[in-house]
């Protein structure tokens, strides 16, 4: 082939510069990108440092005049919860105008209300109504159940109450969680159901009173289990330490223990009406350890000495297990 093919015109200066520029820019670009993305050090997978969020306290200042524990006996959720709240000084003591209230029910299992394994819809309705009466601008209901979330909220009757009362029902969705940091006995870093707390200004725990196969009981302290995600099935290896850590993790405005119908056996799932005993009692208070102490000895009717987490929490100054030493009142609605 001849070196000077007449059909082949040589590149002009402009084209030469443009083509050289494009190639040069690509070389420089890949070099810069590689430099930017280069990771010169190795790391050990699974041991990266995490820094989670800190949960603030939602508790009110301690009152020297008003009781911190209220026990009301009655047969209807609405009246009895109202009576218990009356003893504490009314819902207005806790909820002010414009508050966004997060109510945390226990909806762990797909159970109808009669089996007493989940927060009763009448209890949710009564508490939500009191919140709105006190001026709450919005009430959020959220839980991360063990069984399927949609099934649990549907069958417990809580999604119906949420629709009826215009409550914000938040399901534990994929993006609902964020890492939480805690200096617990066992619980240090854990994935946390965070979306409700982006808006909430007040937090109310609303738990049924239940037998529990491993922990002996599931009441207002263990209720916060439903705010965590991830591998919760490891908690059982240190169940009492973990449950006492919940008292450190969550400083609620108020907790309410629903002892109208108590799951006495086969907990925490129940399954038969014969597992349920009517105890016709609502316990409300600002100290979940005091509330649970009353619940264990007077509603589940068992010996408080065996409920390890209560003693752990008491010894760590996270609550008072001697509920009789606190300012309490009792009434029959």
């Amino acid at each position: 082939m001849s070196a000077s093919n007449p059909n082949e015109s040589s590149v002009n200066r402009r084209e030469f510069l443009v083509r050289l520029g494009i190639t040069g820019a690509l070389i420089a670009g890949s070099g810069l990108a590689a430099r930017k993305l280069w990771q010169p050090n190795h790391f050990v997978p699974g041991f990266e440092k995490e820094k989670g969020l800190q949960l603030k306290s939602y508790a009110q200042e301690v009152s020297k005049v008003l009781p911190s524990l209220a026990i009301a006996h009655g047969t209807e959720h609405d009246k009895t919860i109202r009576a218990a709240m009356g003893l504490l000084g009314g819902m207005e003591r806790f909820i002010q105008h414009g508050d966004v209230v997060m109510i945390k029910p226990n909806v762990a299992f797909d159970r109808p209300p009669a089996l007493a394994a989940t927060t009763h819809p009448d209890a949710l309705r009564a508490v939500a109504k009191l919140c709105f009466e006190a001026g709450a601008s919005k009430v959020i209901v959220a839980d991360n159940p063990i069984n399927s979330p949609t099934g649990c909220f549907f069958k417990s009757g809580l999604s119906a109450v949420a629709a009826e009362m215009h409550l914000d029902l938040l399901y534990p969705e994929t993006n609902s969680f964020a890492p939480l940091s805690l200096t617990g006995e066992i619980l240090k870093e854990w994935t946390f159901f965070n979306t409700p707390f982006k808006q909430a200004t007040k937090v109310i725990g609303l738990a049924p009173c239940k037998d529990h196969n491993l922990c002996h009981a599931s009441m207002t302290t263990k209720n916060w289990y439903g705010l965590l995600g991830g591998r919760r099935n490891q908690f059982h290896q240190h169940i009492h330490s973990i449950v006492s850590d919940f008292a450190l993790m969550m400083k609620p405005t108020l907790v309410i223990l629903d002892g109208m119908n108590v799951l006495m056996s086969n907990g925490p799932t129940g399954g038969r009406l014969s597992d349920v005993k009517p105890m016709n009692t609502i316990v409300a208070g600002t100290d979940m350890i005091a509330v649970d102490s009353y619940g264990y000895s007077h509603l589940l009717e068992r010996d408080l000495a065996e409920l390890t987490y209560i003693h752990k929490a008491h010894d760590r100054n996270l609550g008072n297990k001697n509920w009789k030493d606190t300012l309490y009142k009792e009434v029959t609605a």
Binding site: D110, S159, E173, N175, H212, N213, N233, N266, T269
Partner: protein
């Protein structure tokens, strides 16, 4: 463009409106097949309208189950007007019509489009497929679900399209992401079938669709059809330009191939084509053309499918421990008589436990539902899978029937299988660690999982008191929540296998089937 009511009411536009309506209705039903929105919508209506489902299950079960009677509604217009379903109602046909338009030769020149819509011998393949499926059904295995367009579209929606939407837009469809075993295969089949529209327009509908073949056979008797007036025709072949069915409207119409889309009527510049009542028989090819030897071959393949599947033993003594069927399922051989692999049960399952089988249930059971406890567990107070099953493979049971309560206390609960411990993997049994999550979540009362407190000496010499779990097989219902919640997540320390399921006497575990009267009289569990 000037607005013209007469233009707007052209048959082609009426058809388009129907297509949009039925496609939207299908999508609506798919979307609301969820516990939160279900309410009572007839979400399996398209499957119940499908006459091939009714016909084939009638062959295998000698009955027409509940809503399948609706299929008569579709047979009637087919006998009057031909395969009107294919281009007016069928959501899968509409998908291929639309994607074919989108990806296909719409911008190609007229001649090329005309050539793409001429009839090909290949199009008789669907009749061979239909014959094979009917032969398999006569043998005793229902396999229409492989290619029946409604089953295929529902399956693709449940296991691929919705999970993929949720993958890109988290929590748009499910609260938590759903997973489906082998979804990639179903996804690529969908992509392949859609993509083939580029090579042959309406590839699936013309070449593969057994429902199209079934309706094509029925339309032999149809009273109306597209007819060409040879005195007006100038043989320009423009009628083929947009012919969906490739039914040769430019010559003798192939009645069984025509989708009644009416495009030819409007594409004809000479007004030679019309939709006519009882036109002359000599100007049509009335019946589908299927060479006899190929029909015979199809019969052999269908019977072979049944015979080879059965003699592999997966539905008999060699059944797999992983074939745990949904609650209310009929006995395995009857299940294979009824299940159309539409995977509506998988769509509606609120826990993601239902999965399309790959090869666990054998050749015949591919894509039929089984429970995978890694992905979910059967919620006790739930019978949704049976509510949406159009064929009764999963019967429409009540909660009382499922849990053996109320009137059904005597017969006891439906058991899906039985849980067994793998003691070497169990933390309290082998690793000196407290646990019993399995006991906690066990949903029956009294609990089928119970534990005994033991004090053991640890390796370091210190004592530890913990509870070790056991299964009571008379009480276990095989729901799998213990396996699902077990902290040993790769292969749980407690696993449910199919043995002990109540649907089949051959697969029971205990001689008395779990002594229910004794169970009922059990006192409250002692801690």
């Amino acid at each position: 463009m000037k607005f013209d009511l007469k233009d707007l009411l052209k048959l082609r536009n009426v058809r388009r409106a129907a297509q949009v309506f039925f496609f939207a209705l299908f999508l609506f039903f798919v979307f609301v097949t969820d516990l939160r929105y279900l309410k009572g919508y007839p979400v399996s209506l398209f499957l119940e309208l499908d006459p091939l489902v009714a016909f084939a299950t009638a062959i295998t079960t000698h009955t027409v189950y509940m809503g399948l009677l609706w299929s008569l509604l579709l047979i009637l217009p087919t006998l009057l007007f031909g395969r009107i379903f294919c281009n007016w109602i069928c959501p899968y046909g509409i998908l291929h019509h639309f994607t074919g338009w989108l990806l296909g030769k719409r911008r190609a020149e007229e001649r090329e489009r005309i050539e793409a819509n001429r009839y090909k011998k290949l199009y008789s393949l669907k009749y061979v497929i239909l014959i094979a499926m009917i032969a398999a059904a006569i043998g005793g295995t229902l396999q229409i679900g492989w290619l029946d367009p409604i089953c295929l579209f529902h399956r693709s929606m449940s296991t691929v399209i919705l999970p993929v939407i949720n993958l890109f837009i988290p929590s748009s469809i499910y609260v938590r992401q759903y997973f489906h075993v082998g979804a990639w295969a179903i996804g690529f089949i969908l992509l392949f079938l859609v993509g083939m529209n580029v090579v042959i327009p309406r590839f699936f509908c013309r070449v593969l669709c057994p429902l199209g073949a079934f309706l094509g056979t029925l339309s032999v008797a149809s009273l109306w059809r597209i007819d060409r007036d040879p005195t007006k025709c100038v043989d320009c072949d423009l009628c083929l330009k947009s012919c969906e069915g490739a039914s040769d409207p430019h010559t003798q119409l192939r009645k069984s191939e025509c989708f009644v889309c009416f495009n030819c009527v409007e594409d004809c510049p000479e007004d030679a084509i019309s939709f006519k009542f009882m036109p002359e028989l000599k100007r049509e090819v009335t019946a589908p053309v299927v060479p006899g030897r190929r029909a015979f071959l199809g019969t052999l393949v269908g019977l072979g499918f049944y015979a080879f599947g059965r003699t592999s033993g997966a539905s008999d003594r060699n059944y797999d421990k992983k074939v745990i069927r949904p609650p209310g399922s009929v006995e395995e051989k009857d299940f294979l008589d009824r299940c159309i692999k539409c995977d509506q049960c998988i769509r509606t399952c609120p826990t993601n436990v239902l999965q399309p089988a790959v090869l666990e249930a054998g050749l015949e059971g591919i894509w039929t539902p089984i429970l995978n406890m890694k992905l979910g567990a059967c919620d006790v107070n739930c019978t949704l899978c049976g509510q949406v099953c159009p064929t009764g493979a999963i019967q429409r049971i009540t909660i009382e029937e499922k849990t053996g309560t109320g009137k059904f206390a005597e017969q006891g609960p439906i058991k899906l299988g039985t849980a067994f411990y793998d003691l070497g993997r169990c933390l309290p049994w082998s690793m000196e660690t407290p646990c019993v999550v399995c006991e906690e979540v066990c949903p029956v009362s009294p609990k089928a999982i119970y534990s005994r407190e033991v004090t053991i000496t640890k390796r370091d010499g210190n004592p530890i008191t913990l509870r070790r779990p056991y299964v009571d097989p008379t009480l276990c219902i095989g729901c799998g929540v213990c396996e699902h919640e077990c902290p040993v997540t790769d292969e749980a320390a407690i696993r449910v296998t199919a043995v002990g399921e109540t649907r089949s006497p051959e697969r029971r575990l205990l001689m008395d089937g779990g002594d229910v009267s004794a169970v009922r009289d059990l006192g409250k569990r002692q801690r």
